[in-house]
Assembly symmetry: C2
Homo-oligomer: 445 residues x 2
Amino acid sequence: MNHATEKEAVPHVVIIGGGFAGLATAQHLKNCPVNVTLIDRRNFHLFQPLLYQVATGELSPANIASPLRAILENNRNVEVLLDSVESVDLENRCVHLAHSELNFDYLIVAAGSTHHYFGNDSWGKYAPGLKTVEDATEIRAKILEAFEAAELERDPEIINDLLTFVIVGGGPTGCELAGALAEVSKRTLRYEFRKIDPTQAKVMLIEPSDAPLHIYPSPLPQKATRALEALGVDVVTGFHVTDVNDRSVVLTSRDGQVHKTIGTRNVIWAAGVKASPLGVQIAEQSGIALARGGRVPVQADCSLETDKRVFVCGDLALFTDPEKGELPGLAPVASQMGRHAAKCIRADQEGRERKSFQYFDKGSLAVIGRLQAIGTIGRFKFHGFVAWAIWLLIHLMYITRFRNRVLVLVQWGWAFFTRDRSARLITGRHRWEKEDAVSERAQSA
Amino acid sequence: MNHATEKEAVPHVVIIGGGFAGLATAQHLKNCPVNVTLIDRRNFHLFQPLLYQVATGELSPANIASPLRAILENNRNVEVLLDSVESVDLENRCVHLAHSELNFDYLIVAAGSTHHYFGNDSWGKYAPGLKTVEDATEIRAKILEAFEAAELERDPEIINDLLTFVIVGGGPTGCELAGALAEVSKRTLRYEFRKIDPTQAKVMLIEPSDAPLHIYPSPLPQKATRALEALGVDVVTGFHVTDVNDRSVVLTSRDGQVHKTIGTRNVIWAAGVKASPLGVQIAEQSGIALARGGRVPVQADCSLETDKRVFVCGDLALFTDPEKGELPGLAPVASQMGRHAAKCIRADQEGRERKSFQYFDKGSLAVIGRLQAIGTIGRFKFHGFVAWAIWLLIHLMYITRFRNRVLVLVQWGWAFFTRDRSARLITGRHRWEKEDAVSERAQSA
């Protein structure tokens, strides 16, 4: 059936993706004379910048996820549809879903990005990336199971591999993970084992360039490196990954001369993202050439060169700012683009001129660990405690709903003062749970 | 290898299961001259009485689960072992695990219970029970997906089946689930859908006896029935389930004369539990006859008739109190038995006489919904708000760790005043996520 036909004769806006961009569009079309359908495969919006804290057992998934229907409850012109997009047909202005199809007058494609293994997708099996709630709980289980397996193991070499954590990619996520992981081993698990010493765990951060967080102006990358090393993280720069398997990671120097093999059972991928495959369809149908990383170049108003009524926002889009150049794939960029798309639609309805998108750079911050962060706000550079405090405030402000904010604050407070992380659940079937095991435990049996 | 040999020559106490019973034993052996090994397949202790709130989206799993290692961090004589028990050898005083084996001087079997489909295990596929964190998140997804599927559906009959929730079993868990589910549909989801009306969802509670919670003295079961009906729950008494499939549930009256078929896609099993299969092994090796539900009859000191150094505690044990009769499978019974086993071991070490186990009945309460509960404390019966308030206090007191208490309180407070439940995540792959779907959403892509 066709949802659009059931609506009054006002424009139908279809939004693909309930991330920062898509959600912003839906929210800013409130009271605008259009019908909106927001399509997502999940029933919740995820506050992705804090996902690494779920992976390291500080927060629960629900703390950083809000049900889309709840967020949009009072946006009466918005319908949330849980379905997956099979294909987009720009010419016939139609979106084909797994269970239905939708006609649109306006289309906002905010389908985001996914992990990118640079052509080595087989690595994904050994080096999970961190994009979804499932990724986070899997990585959490992987990390905790490594310590558990080490406690059961007798072979010192295997114990060493189990307690070696390699994080590939020195961007914000990689640094945040490395810092948090160092704290998990040095503080949280410190006294919890009887045979192994968790504080002896190795955390390595692999960065091909000269320093992690190199997108930040000097001296911030250097400050970040020192902060990470102070936490006990082994920062390896100038090397990129040339192989990943179940036992080890192979690193190669930039000049290709030097090779290192690191024995490890725990590799986490924080290296690259690739835009959603929907970009390819749009390129084919519009004739627009995709930019690096499969991103779709958009006009000054975030719409397609070939179609003013199709907008591409967020990580999937490539917006080139006259002064600032190519905008990065960050949450603030995504939500501002999404809001701008809504403004353009509103302008169309009211017969006004569309404005060009102006990205307001609130700055960006990366946390390294307890009390440590680096970042820039406007022309100002911050590091250490000040940067960390600003990061804390900004993230609390942005967590979508009030209640989550309180919960996150309580948990951060607890984790900060006790150095404990109690969202440390290994869920799902795991290695020492056998189908045929007769043992049943009091509560899980 | 053999853990025991690595220890000094003090008795080795092996505890199977980190539930209420096993954990209590481990904790109360603190500073006792014994080495303790606690075996569990999970790395956390679960506060099972609140599991239904995870299933209905009010709490996150981590709020009611605490890492066993963290709880026992300062019990230096306790080693936590994540492994599953394959078999117990009472004669050779040895426990065979999936990855090792353990000799014991004392054995505490606290392996709990599992769902019981009365010989119809095939029903499990359609009627999940609520025992583990995975059960809870699966049931949560099942409930939320039913509303989502109904929103997409056009066939009124299928919509009706999707919005019909049948809970089998009118015990505490069944009543708590029914009450919470009624509130989810009537309050939480009320304004969140555009095509269906969630408040029209049917919640049915099936109880073979004359009233739910019939273990409680009159007039409490009647009060409970009225409270449930006030919430919109359809309480069906005098019928038991004779078939469950993917489309419906068949009910049959006690006399076998009347049959009812209820179209539903959502059946939740809260009807029966069966003791862990380990009980069978113990029975075979000790010659002790298992009691109803596969429970192992124990002596006055909670040990086996045939072996003073093997204790069975919690749901797996059947303790018959001279005055109170058979003790029920409740958390307080389990933890008191576990503690008693520890006291007996301590008495042995100090050359004192073992005492008989005295169950101190603090009473029991069952929540029916917002502000509604029933229960008994000693000779006193409570219902309505008073019972609910007492339930709230007791459960807050018992949640294992401080931080969880605060989190639970914050979430209860929020849920209470806003009637919102925001731990409403549908996680894991689900029906409208296809392997080959090209749609990727901004944050989960």
